[in-house]
């Protein structure tokens, strides 16, 4: 299955964006993001803490819907999903 990952702002600068990944079904969302982030230590450290959990301020969306922090560890991705990962917003 194919999943798209979009990073924004500082995370985009560190890791790129619109990344298409091929994964087997049943992959956990956090695992998917971690695998991509591990390609660059600075990017990984910006998003995940020392225990491998999303940092408290990191916001994760699946298909445009925001996930609560607890959900990110348990949600599985599906074919065609778009996952967005970004820091706190600062518009206006």
């Amino acid at each position: 299955m194919t999943v798209k990952i979009r990073f924004f702002a500082r995370f985009r600068e560190l890791l790129g964006t619109d990344i298409l990944v091929e994964k087997k079904s049943g992959t956990m969302l956090a695992t998917l993001v971690k695998d991509i982030a591990l390609e660059k230590k600075e990017g990984y450290d910006a998003i995940f803490d020392a225990n491998g959990n999303f940092r408290e301020f990191v916001i994760v969306m699946r298909n445009g819907k925001r996930l609560e922090p607890a959900e990110t560890a348990t949600v599985m991705v599906a074919d065609g999903d778009e996952i967005a990962v970004f820091p706190p917003v600062a518009g206006g």
Binding site: P87, V89, G92
Partner: protein, 141 residues
């Protein structure tokens, strides 16, 4: 008009269009790039989601504050000092609703709409930190 766009907008035209029947007050909020040792500002959005959020905020503001008309235009891309970043134009029958509605919209945008600003400064670039850490914004989606 609810939009996320690179181009500036004619605020005068928006004011005229906001004057719906029954209008007694039009309030304009114009957020601009401030000269804080900043050369330019780079703005980025998760456009599909941000636009949807702006549309929801506009509808909420209309209902909560009895607004007659709402425009929200948030610009993205590279902007210079003094340029418009965010224009909010609201109209209402009376000034209390218009002021309150305008204030509601800007505060909701700052809480949860996925847009980011990077200051291109004379002493190095810097992402502007969000005012609301994860969880404090009301999730609409």
């Amino acid at each position: 008009m609810i939009a996320i766009q690179h181009e500036d907008v004619d605020i005068g035209r928006l004011i005229e269009e906001a004057k719906q029947p029954g209008t007694g007050a039009v309030v304009v909020f114009d957020g601009v790039v401030r000269d804080d040792d900043v050369r330019e500002m780079e703005l980025e959005a998760y456009e599909e989601v941000a636009l949807r959020e702006l549309e929801k905020i506009a509808e909420e503001a209309k209902k909560l504050h009895t607004l007659l008309h709402v425009d929200i235009v948030h610009r993205i891309g590279r902007l210079s000092v003094g340029e418009n970043i965010l224009i909010i134009v609201v109209s209402a029958g009376h000034r209390p609703q218009a002021y309150a509605g305008s204030r509601y919209i800007i505060e909701e945008i700052k809480k949860g709409v996925p847009i980011w600003k990077k200051e291109l400064r004379k002493d190095g670039d810097r992402w502007v930190p969000g005012e609301h850490p994860h969880g404090s914004g009301k999730p609409r989606s």
